[in-house]
Symmetry: C2
Subunit: 524 residues, 2 copies
Amino acid sequence: MTGMCFMKNNSNNDRWVVSVDLPMPSLKDNTADVDRLVCALEQKLGITGITADLELMRVIPDMLRRWGYSARCVLFSDGVHTTLTGLLDPAPDDIAMGLAVDLGTTRIVTRLIDLESAKTAGETSFENPQTAIGDDILTRIHHASSTEGLEQLHGMIIGGLNNAIRDLCAQAGTDSKNIHAIAVAGNTTMTHLLLKLPPGWIIREPYIPAVNRPGMVKAEALGINANPMARVFLFPNVGSYFGGDLVSGILFSGMHRLKDTAILVDVGTNAEVVLGNRDWLVACAGAAGPALEGGVAQIGSKAGPGVIDTIFIDPKTKKINFDTIGHKPPLGICGSALLDLIAQLFLNGFIDIRGKLVPEKLREKFEQTDGIPQMVVVPAEQSGTGMPLRLTQPDIDNIIRSKAAMYTILDTITSSVGLGMDDITTFFVAGTFGSMINPKSAISIGMLPDIPLTRFKVLGNSSLEGASLMLSSRAPSKEIGSIQSRITYLELNVNQEFMNRFSAAKFLPHTDRSLFPSVPVPEQ
Amino acid sequence: MTGMCFMKNNSNNDRWVVSVDLPMPSLKDNTADVDRLVCALEQKLGITGITADLELMRVIPDMLRRWGYSARCVLFSDGVHTTLTGLLDPAPDDIAMGLAVDLGTTRIVTRLIDLESAKTAGETSFENPQTAIGDDILTRIHHASSTEGLEQLHGMIIGGLNNAIRDLCAQAGTDSKNIHAIAVAGNTTMTHLLLKLPPGWIIREPYIPAVNRPGMVKAEALGINANPMARVFLFPNVGSYFGGDLVSGILFSGMHRLKDTAILVDVGTNAEVVLGNRDWLVACAGAAGPALEGGVAQIGSKAGPGVIDTIFIDPKTKKINFDTIGHKPPLGICGSALLDLIAQLFLNGFIDIRGKLVPEKLREKFEQTDGIPQMVVVPAEQSGTGMPLRLTQPDIDNIIRSKAAMYTILDTITSSVGLGMDDITTFFVAGTFGSMINPKSAISIGMLPDIPLTRFKVLGNSSLEGASLMLSSRAPSKEIGSIQSRITYLELNVNQEFMNRFSAAKFLPHTDRSLFPSVPVPEQ
């Protein structure tokens, strides 16, 4: 507890736990207990309109008297309304926790945070239980078209979150009743399913969500095990295809406060891109293809023991050197290493500027089975499966389409505001996959623009980090709404110009080599 | 329904039911459904921060599509937060009701109001079921000191309100689900008991309520049968002895908007007085004694068949003329007629300026039993009880103490701001009892100041009327908070000066006759 005390005395005064010492009531100052408390908080925070639940009002008079009119107040806000979600003993034994949630389509990551110290008390992640219904969003939205289906999908997330809460609380030696605030960053559909909002109109033209700014709801109303007064804040969506997870990412990047223009890219199945600075924000999203995540190529594999995560072709010997997770015999290759491999193959002339395998260069590594050109990356004798690990021409074509889509999106959004890639001062790369890619490889294949490597900033799970930020300090609650409302969402029109850009980007690194001066010309 | 249509077309545009025609969503305008609705409402009302319950958000997308993006929205606000409590079909078949509640210690009066036309759809009143626990507030507060006791008292009001709602809805041919807004005006203790807030500190020095501004709570959270989204607004209290019922009364009187100074008096067991104008408001409350309500004098009786409500002494014949409710033989005399009687007795010399019965004048009407002087008001042969109806000297003394207390309170509050009675341009008399008294009689005995009769305005049940006003238009929600915060509550110090004023007021009409020039000098 000494540590906590230390944190308390040095605490950031912008936390959600706010200490107040109220003037004692007297005949000359007979303000009611709740009003006295609310008034002191409003003065301290410089806001108005703080509310408290009836359940809390009922116990405040006794609590204040027991504590000599001092208390630590737990607040939470969606930037519009601020609520008192609990009262703690002025002595620092009582704790208030927050739960940050990255509500991913595939994985859900939760982090328990001490609201007073902003320290992480635990983190856990689990597969989104809705994958039992369908891996992709579309299947789930169709499933949700019946009341029972929606109820089921909703119940699955709540069940998953409650399990995570139980585990995190056990791990941290605390009780779920100590959780007063929950911040959830998810895409538009996941946010709808969590709230049991009908998601059907999201995918039907003109693509209208039920709500973009749900604000705060009671955890109890959703069936989430937490303090009865706890509030759940949902990061607002910008539209059907630009969700609260990205708004959370922008918050974490801080690009909305920068004078210079930055870009934020969440690289995944979808490429979601935000461009802007403290004055304006433009966003778009487009399918970049699942190829980039390495889940589609035959050789591709999710990270795990025996999966190649480092790969390098010796320019002299042309030998493919690699390492695997746990230094086990290789079973597959992870997405980021796959990009490295493509870059290395291209720089060493094993594939040409169209991404086609070059048999003359590959020699014994080249094979053709059932008319499909392919290359052996790891021979059978080195492989953990006893079979050669092969990269096929269709796999490469897939990756090239994906990287071209990514570049085209970046190209389109910057051009739309009259900027060039050089104007981008900071290039934030977000998302689990994004965090692992090597920008140099991504530049070599023309997926990311050829700007100085120092401009790239890897954000990691920016959606979770943004949600954590929301729980660590009060300031973000005031910023989030303005981030959401400032974003101009650019509908990507797949018109002739887009297709021209896309075609030009399907080369390695690009048909216009002058755009990639740093990428060496491969040997012919 | 034609009437409703008519009302709708000519409707006050400040009602809680607001029609909106939303722009249809399109690829160019893909604002989410809820946000689209909220935004339109915020623009129309010129406010921000309108919220909707999750349950409503879940159905809004389908409702809007069914109605072609038109709807009538039911809103409610406590002046700080505005909530969407329902959505109605744009066709006027759907109705939204409000319930105004005067939550009295003794009687509870409820009125059903159409929120769109502001027309009354029914009214009912019932005895506060809590009287089974105790007639007076103090007994109930003591009973509420245990959790079970508080729960019981709370349940009694809720049960009573639910019965009233059932009756009113049956009577109006509507369903309780159509009730979207409830406005409750009660004294501080009754407000606490309705909300199940611990009332114990109200009566212990320094007299601190749990909350003065509870704002809005969900009807559902209180167990009130209404629409699941319905909100209950509680008129704010000023302090332990100045409750929301009086704030509601001020709202109804409109004195807070007047340029000239007015006074509002709620005459009952307590005399509650507010003095002020659009710039300032001063209030105080003091025990005026139950004598004024006629419940204490032996002869006194609550209004009912056979109760004297009109009484007049012929100045020539000295005969006591009276009439009763239903013209039945007299059983007793109601409070207002009792004041008339005292005034008449005084003006005809039957009691002297100290209020003492004058045997020489009363002659055969005078009696003395067990040493108690008394007079026969109605002889046995005329009485409905077969016994004479008598007024005793202690009864008169009680009334004189009460009227003196009332005048002293009025005198003290006006003096405290440096005003005289002549400065009072309008004298609002509120409360059921207050509505029935004859100001001329009240002046004759020196209970009310001697100002022109035209300045007296009888408000009736101002607490119920204020609550009705709150449901009839949106404007009051913005005024109520400022009324409450502007009131300076004057603690009546029963010091030497107060006692001096009180002693002087114990004469008929007053020791200082110059204060009552209109009252004729009685014959000696």
